[in-house]
């Protein structure tokens, strides 16, 4: 009898735990949806502590510098430090398809390689940041982030997808 009561109590506890977990997940979903509604620029303003100090670049720069065509992304944010000498860069793109993302990743990878080459033995602090930059593709999202907290920032951008 005692064992039966204990078993019932355990089952009830499990059911309660599952109910609470499900409720939390439902509450989280709306917040996740709200974050997804933000543009990449708005997201960057939330994620990057130095956002206000960074300089934004434009579509023509993505094309001129990296050869990324307008059809290969639906949204982007491209920021650098305001001196152009510190190696602090944030490039995030949402692509319309994984195929487009692969093309974009190839372009950004080539760009990063050039930046590493041109700063090596020339701007050592910038080179160090760029050499350790986070470069990733997750589905249709491509990012390259160089900076002291690049890994955490990259994780935040990818979590917001």
């Amino acid at each position: 009898m005692k064992n039966t009561n204990r078993l019932i109590a355990l089952i009830l506890a499990c059911v309660l735990l599952c109910t609470v977990t499900a409720a939390c997940a439902e509450e989280a979903a709306p917040a996740g949806e709200a974050v997804q509604a933000l543009s990449l620029e708005e997201l960057a303003a939330v994620i990057l502590p130095d956002f206000e100090d960074l300089v934004p670049w434009y579509e023509e720069d993505l094309l001129d510098i990296m050869g990324i065509e307008g059809d290969d992304y639906t949204d982007f944010v491209y920021l650098t430090d305001d001196s152009g000498m510190e190696g602090r860069e944030v490039i995030v793109l949402y692509c319309p398809s994984p195929e487009a993302a692969e093309r974009v990743l190839a372009s950004v990878t080539a760009y990063l390689a050039r930046r590493v080459k041109e700063t090596q033995n020339y701007l050592p602090d910038a080179w160090e940041l760029l050499d350790k930059a986070v470069l990733a593709q997750d589905g249709a999202t491509v990012l390259m982030i160089s900076g002291p907290d690049a890994a955490a920032e990259a994780e935040a951008f990818l979590a917001a997808e």
Binding site: P56, Y58, E60, D64, S83, G84, M85, E118, Y122
Partner: protein, 261 residues
């Protein structure tokens, strides 16, 4: 009857005289005969200056990269500022590499459209009306003036062969700080190179743009307020001085183009 005839006669006389008194029609003066307004009096708007730079390409090293970033910064508040201007820059890029016909994978290269290209191909690909070039700092070209001018000659040859209608504008080396000159006084070397560059540009019929003089202090150094690193790179104030020189150059060209029409 007589009165009527008199009145008609007077009316006829008045009608005959009126055309003579009327002001003479202005005859169109053929353009070549019209006296042109002096170029410097022709007003040039900011919009026209921005439009000028939409047909320009800037080529250079880290210093020109800084100019590009500064322009982006200004565009945060004024998106029309030098909108459409294109750039092909690479930090640590050298004047020597600019004079090569091919881009080597071993070297730092310029890029345009994501493609690594030699300088003359960037010029050809951009198809700009004006190409502004600032190179030589990474070569320490003040220490090898003859070689440097030879490289400039080669760049002009390659660019004009590939893009005969493009107007090249070689910019003077920018000054360096007193700290940069601690072991060697580069002021005279830089000035001598700039003088030789100017002479070469005049000889080859391309533009030379002096951006150095406005950036110098009374001793010929780059002062602290104009440097970002205490050596050779420029602060926002220094870059704004340079932008002012560029805007004046644009106004002069626009006036020339209008006066020639």
């Amino acid at each position: 009857m007589k009165d009527i005839l008199k009145k008609m006669l007077i009316l006829l006389l008045v009608m005959a005289v009126l055309p003579v008194c009327a002001p003479a029609e202005e005859t169109a003066v053929p353009p070549q005969e019209a006296a042109s307004a002096p170029a410097e009096e022709i007003e040039v708007t900011d919009e026209e200056v921005n439009a000028f730079f939409s047909r320009a390409l800037f080529i250079g090293d880290s210093v020109t990269s800084q100019l590009r970033v500064r322009i982006k910064e200004i565009q945060k508040k004024d998106k029309s500022f030098m909108k459409g201007c294109r750039y092909s820059t690479a930090q640590s890029y050298m004047l020597y590499n600019g004079s090569r016909k091919n881009a080597s994978s071993n070297n730092v290269n310029l890029t345009l459209g994501g493609e690594e290209l030699p300088l003359w191909k960037c010029v050809k690909k951009a198809g700009a009306d004006y190409v502004f070039i600032l190179l030589g700092l990474n070569d320490y070209v003040g220490e090898k003036i003859e070689k440097g001018i030879g490289w400039v000659d080669r760049i002009i040859d390659l660019c004009l062969e590939g893009s005969p209608d493009t107007k090249l504008v070689f910019m003077s080396l920018t000054p360096v700080t007193r700290s940069f000159c601690r072991k060697k006084d580069y002021r005279t070397m830089w000035d001598n190179y700039n003088a030789a560059l100017k002479a070469k540009c005049e000889e080859r019929g391309v533009y030379y743009l002096d951006i150095a003089t406005s950036l110098k202090d009374e001793d010929g150094y780059l002062p602290k307020k104009y440097t970002s690193d205490g050596r050779c790179h420029l602060s926002s104030d220094g870059l704004d001085i340079w932008l002012g020189v560029l805007q004046d150059f644009a106004r002069d060209r626009i006036r020339e183009e209008r006066a020639a029409q």
